[in-house]
């Protein structure tokens, strides 16, 4: 997948960073096409080989913690970090804000 190609960020799809260990799963789709990045570079579907040519951009290196949710207020895209890593999650070069979710009471 080329970096310029629009990403198909369907709910349930899983994406991996090209420059660190971060993996995410899409919880809610974006209303319009966006480019999802981690560590300053576009993410790729989990399972594809990591590109050897790119390295972590120090300005996108504040890390992503496992279990945290991130949401883009503009597009509505919502992600869950399923594997922690050193890179920062971003959309089109803008770091994604953390989503503070109030957990629901367990009902099962």
């Amino acid at each position: 997948m080329g970096a310029k190609e629009p990403m198909d960020l369907k709910p349930g799809t899983r994406w991996a960073s090209q420059v660190c260990d971060t993996e995410v799963i899409v919880v809610r789709a974006a209303a319009q096409p966006v480019s999802l990045q981690c560590g300053g570079h576009p993410m790729a579907p989990v399972g594809t080989d990591k590109s050897p040519d790119v390295t972590l951009d120090p300005s996108f290196a504040s890390g992503s913690l496992i279990g945290k949710r991130f949401a883009d207020p503009e597009s509505g895209l919502e992600l869950l970090v399923t594997k922690a890593g050193a890179g920062t999650l971003a959309i089109d070069g803008v770091a994604l804000p953390l989503k503070e979710a109030k957990p629901l009471p367990s009902s099962d």
């Binding site: 899983r14 594997k83 367990s106 009902s107 099962d108």
Partner: protein, 502 residues
Amino acid sequence: MHLSSLLEIVAEALPDRVAVAACDAGDLTYGGLLDTVRAVARHLQDQGAERLVAVDVNSEAVPVGLFGAALAGIPYVPVNYRLADAQLVAILERAAPGLAVVESSVPARLGEGVPGLSMMSRGAFLASNGPEPATAGGVDPEDPAVLLFTSGTTGEPKAAVLRHRHLTSYVLETVEFMGADPDDAALVSVPPYHIAGIAAVLTSVWSGRRLVYLPQFSAESWVDTAAREAATHAMVVPTMLGRILEVLAERGEKLPALRHLSYGGGRMPIALVERALDHLPHVGLVNAYGLTETSSTIAVLGPEDHTDAASSSEPEVRARLGSVGRPLPNLEVEIRDPMGVAVPAGTHGEIWVRGDQVSGEYLGRGAALSSDGWLATNDGGWLDTEGYLFVEGRLDDIIVRGGENLSPGEIEDVLLTHPDVADAAVIGVPDEEWGEAVAAVIVLAEGAQAEPDALRAWVAERLRSTRAPQRIEFRPELPYSETGKLLRRVLKAEMSPGPGGS
């Protein structure tokens, strides 16, 4: 998303945490569960199984079977092993073809067996393995993940189709990934062929909680197991809770580790909720309302809602103890009139729901959703001004007396507060003057006597005279399904022909 991804993600994050406190062998860690699931999936693919049917009590074979079938790309079809032989055969004929994991007494009950269904024991299933398959197993979120035969309180049971996207949407939207503490344990006593049994597996796994299975429910073994395993979470149906509270009171057991007790699967009498609040003040009570067709819960009354309502002096707030709380934030719920038009708060009608977890699909019948994705639940109810949902039961059960809609549950709740009444069922019976009349079937408390007129007065004083039962019958017990649903159709069929019973 696909169910197999749920387990793979958790097994990678928490490989050494215990996933299932096993009944037969040792504990299974999340890493071990995934290994077992992969081996079983290889076997299913090697056998070319089209469905994985389960006719068994609760055990670690439930999560192994659910995820194993998912990984093999075939549906998991848990069936009620307690059905009468003829009914069981009829359902298995519809569940076939496939491979069935069966409890040891089942093959003898099936006589010559069921065409297309090969059977294996739980032990053989859990130990099964196969060669690495040539083709990948399940990945498509559109595939059916689970087929569940609905309890069939009316007519022939239908098989609800829940696809991977429905179930995973419910889990992703409502459960915090890895949200459990390392010591958390969920005690599962609802059977695997109930949607709550399926949801328990998925939500426990996604939160990283330890599953503890009760093979079959009895109040004594539930209390024993909850205490021994220090269960922090449990889900029960109404008939279970009453018996559990009795055993807890007899033993003076408080279950100090328990933090969350959820109930659902049928109407819970308010008096019983109040008893639970009294006896287990350290436990957060959660009332969950949902349907098989909605991948489990669509509304919850949380612990704070319970305590706020129980301690309030405002009638409107206090009444919420009898509600099912507010709809989940990822869903839309509306009350609609018989024409399908939404009605304002406070108005009675049918409950409609829309959201990604809503399937509404039955095997061989297609989806029952409207073109814009709404499901008519066939449950009557209303919303209060703060959005709390009150469920009045199946629309067919609502009594229409002289043009007035009466909720059987509301009348039952009042009858149950009478000291001489142990259990009560209210149904509508044909009546020449009113169209339908209110009839009550009462189980008296041990050694108690009660005059029908006294019970009528009790209801009339607390509700209004139109709700007082015209006919009252006394019986030693009421018919329930084993998941705690009152079988009103049985009572209706038995009561309709006769004249006044009192």
